[in-house]
């Protein structure tokens, strides 16, 4: 199974994990990214390119599923206005082996960060806002999987 969703709606980690587990394998890894409180942030505005998002996320999931022999992959990425502490992204991978599940989850997040067409705008408590810039550490993390 590959499940990809984008939208404003929040996700339920417990039920998403159960869904993945239902497709077999004894090892389920997951990652949740949240809007982190840095003391100055009010919210994030998540924009995306709807026509491309599904394609990009599905493509990442397919590679991960094949390369790590996963039983199931779920990727959910929220868009719109998200307050501090809210969920942004969920990745869940199901495999027979914990190493495969965890590595695939890590790969999906690294690729998503550099390939999936989402853009974050930070809205500060003082009313200013700013588009987030890409980070070299994300580029490096994504590249490591090409080696």
């Amino acid at each position: 199974m590959i499940k990809v969703e984008t939208g404003l709606a929040d996700f339920d980690i417990g039920s998403e994990t159960q869904d993945v587990a239902r497709h077999g394998g004894g090892a389920i890894a997951s990652f949740v990214g949240l809007v982190r409180d840095d003391g100055n942030l009010q919210s994030l505005e998540l924009e995306h390119y709807p026509a491309m998002t599904q394609k990009a996320l599905y493509g990442i999931a397919e590679i991960a599923k094949a390369d790590w022999a996963l039983h199931a992959v779920t990727i959910i990425h929220r868009v719109g206005k998200l307050a501090v502490g809210e969920n942004i992204v969920l990745v869940v991978t199901g495999s027979d082996h914990r190493k495969a599940a965890i590595e695939a989850c890590s790969f999906i997040m690294d690729r998503l960060k550099t390939v999936a067409p989402f853009w974050k705008k930070e809205v500060r408590l003082d009313g200013t806002d700013q588009w987030v810039e890409e980070r070299q550490s994300d580029i490096d993390a994504s590249k490591q999987w090409d080696e």
Binding site: E47, Y49, H77, K113, V115, P117, W119, K120, E133
Partner: protein
């Protein structure tokens, strides 16, 4: 017969151009994304400014990543946006 391509913008590219999308008629001399960028730059100061530095931009043709050298072919949509920052 003239073809046209839909150009869509995202994030600060969209904001600074002040437009989400625009139509672009593909003349016979237009073969690559770079050719489109050159002609788009004539549409105004914001276009010229933003589109001049392609190192800060990413491109997708029919929702697949491309580069300025990518050939338009029969693509129906060109997306121009900054490096992605999701996750």
């Amino acid at each position: 017969m003239s073809r046209s391509i839909n150009i869509v913008y995202f994030s600060w590219v969209r904001e600074r151009l002040g437009v989400d999308e625009e139509q672009f008629v593909l003349g016979d001399e237009v073969r690559t994304i770079a050719d489109i960028l050159n002609l788009l730059a004539d549409r105004g100061a914001a276009h010229a400014d933003i589109l001049s530095d392609v190192s800060k931009l990413r491109f997708a043709l029919d929702q697949d990543y491309g580069t300025p050298a990518s050939v338009i072919g029969s693509a129906k949509e060109l997306a121009i946006f900054p490096p992605v920052t999701g996750g």
